[in-house]
C-alpha cells in the first residue's frame, strides 16, 4: 500500500517518455510499405532468407541492439549488394544503408540504433540479380525513468 503510493508519486515526477509528448506528436507513423517500395522500385520483396534481430523491448531508445543477416553465397554471381534500414517513426526515415559484396563473404551486419519512440523497423536487402528481401520487427521503447537534462 505504502509502496504503491511511493511508486506512483515518484514515478509521476521522475518518469518521462524518451521524448516529451509534444515532440512525439511530431513523429507521425509513416507507411512502412510505401517506404519499402521506394527502395525496391515497386518490386515485391521476398520475406525468406533474411533475419532482423532487435529486442522486442529496448531499455533505452538511445542505443538499441540491431543485427541483420541475409542468406547468400556472397559470390560474384549471387550476392547481397546492399541493406537498407528504414524507420517508421524516427525523425529521419533512413537509418543506414550498408553496401556489401563478394568481398564481404557473409551478409551480416551488427550495429546499435536510435529509436525516438516504439515503432516498426524494416530491413530491405538488394540482391545482385535485382531482387529484394524484406524483414520487419516491432520494438517497444521503455520510458526513461530519469529526465535529467541539466545534470
Amino acid at each position: 500500500m505504502r509502496r504503491r503510493r511511493f511508486l506512483r508519486a515518484a514515478g509521476a515526477v521522475l518518469a518521462a517518455p524518451a521524448l516529451p509528448a509534444a515532440a512525439q506528436a511530431f513523429l507521425p507513423r509513416r507507411d512502412l510499405a510505401a517506404l519499402v517500395a521506394s527502395v525496391t522500385g515497386g518490386a515485391t520483396p521476398s520475406r525468406e532468407g533474411i533475419a532482423l534481430e532487435v529486442p522486442a523491448l529496448a531499455e533505452n531508445g538511445n542505443s538499441v541492439a540491431f543485427r541483420v543477416r541475409v542468406e547468400s553465397p556472397m559470390t560474384e554471381a549471387d550476392h547481397v549488394r546492399a541493406i537498407h534500414v528504414l524507420s517508421e517513426r524516427n525523425p529521419r526515415e533512413r537509418v543506414a544503408l550498408f553496401h556489401l559484396g563478394p568481398a564481404s563473404g557473409r551478409a551480416e551486419v551488427t550495429t546499435r540504433i536510435r529509436l525516438a519512440v516504439g515503432q516498426r523497423i524494416a530491413v530491405v536487402a538488394a540482391l545482385s540479380g535485382g531482387r529484394f528481401r524484406l524483414a520487419e520487427a516491432a520494438v517497444e521503447v521503455t520510458a526513461a525513468a530519469c529526465i535529467d537534462e541539466g545534470t
Binding site: L7, A10, L14, E59, N60, N62, T142, D148, T151
Partner: protein, 251 residues
Amino acid sequence: MRALAALALCACAAAAAAPPRPEPPLPGTHFLGSDLKALQADDFANPGLLWVARGEALWSEGAKPCAACHGEAARSMRGAAARYPRFDAGLGRVVNLEGRIDACRTGRQGLPAFAPESPERLALAAFVARQSRGMPLAVSVDGPARPVFERGRDLYRTRIGQLNLACTHCHDERWGKTLLAEPISQGHPTAWPAYRVEWQTLGSLQRRLRACFFGVRAAMPDYGDGDLLALELYLAWRGEGLALESPGVRR
C-alpha cells in the same frame, strides 16, 4: 541468539546510525537488462573503453606526463581507484580519484585544471580506474576522513527535494523494485566513471549523483561540492568488498 545480536551491533559500531547495508550486496550491473550487461562485459564494444584509450594516450602526453612520475599505469595505479575517496596527507583533505588527478595536474604538472566532466578528465579517471578492475572497494573512513564520512552518512538519510525522499528510501528500502520501468539498484559506486546510454557519453559518479538529486527535485550540488564528495565516501564504504567495474555501462 543474543550473542549474535551483540556481535552484529559491534560490527556496526563503526557505522553507528548508518542504515543496514543491503544484503546480499549487488553491483548495479546486476539490475541491468541482458543487452547492456553484455555491452559492459564486451572488451571491444563497451563505449567507455574509448575514454580509457584516450586516457591511456594522455597518460604519456606533454612535457611532464603522468608516466614520467608514475611509470606504467598497470603497475603504479593498480588498486589506486579502490582506495578513493581518501584523506590525502599532502593536500590535507579528502579527495576523490578525479580530485587526486586534478592535484597532480595543477600541482605536479603545473597545468591549468580540467573542467568537471571534460573529456580529458573523464578519460584519465577512466584509465586510472580501469587499472583496478575487479579489485574490491576498500576505503578508510577513520582518522581525518571520519568527519567527511559522517557527513555523507547523514546526508544519505536526509530527505531532500519536492519528493521528500532520501537516498536510503530508494537504494536501501526499494532496491530490486522498479520506478515505473526502471529497476532501482542498491546504489553502489563501482561502475563509475560509467557510460550512461541516457547521456550517450561517459560521466563521473558526481554526475550520476546530481541526476539523483534532480530526480527527487532537489537543488543539484555543484561539481566538487563537499556534499557530493561526502556521499561518494559513504557510498564507497557502504559498497566495501564489491569489485570495481569501471567503465560500467548504465541505462
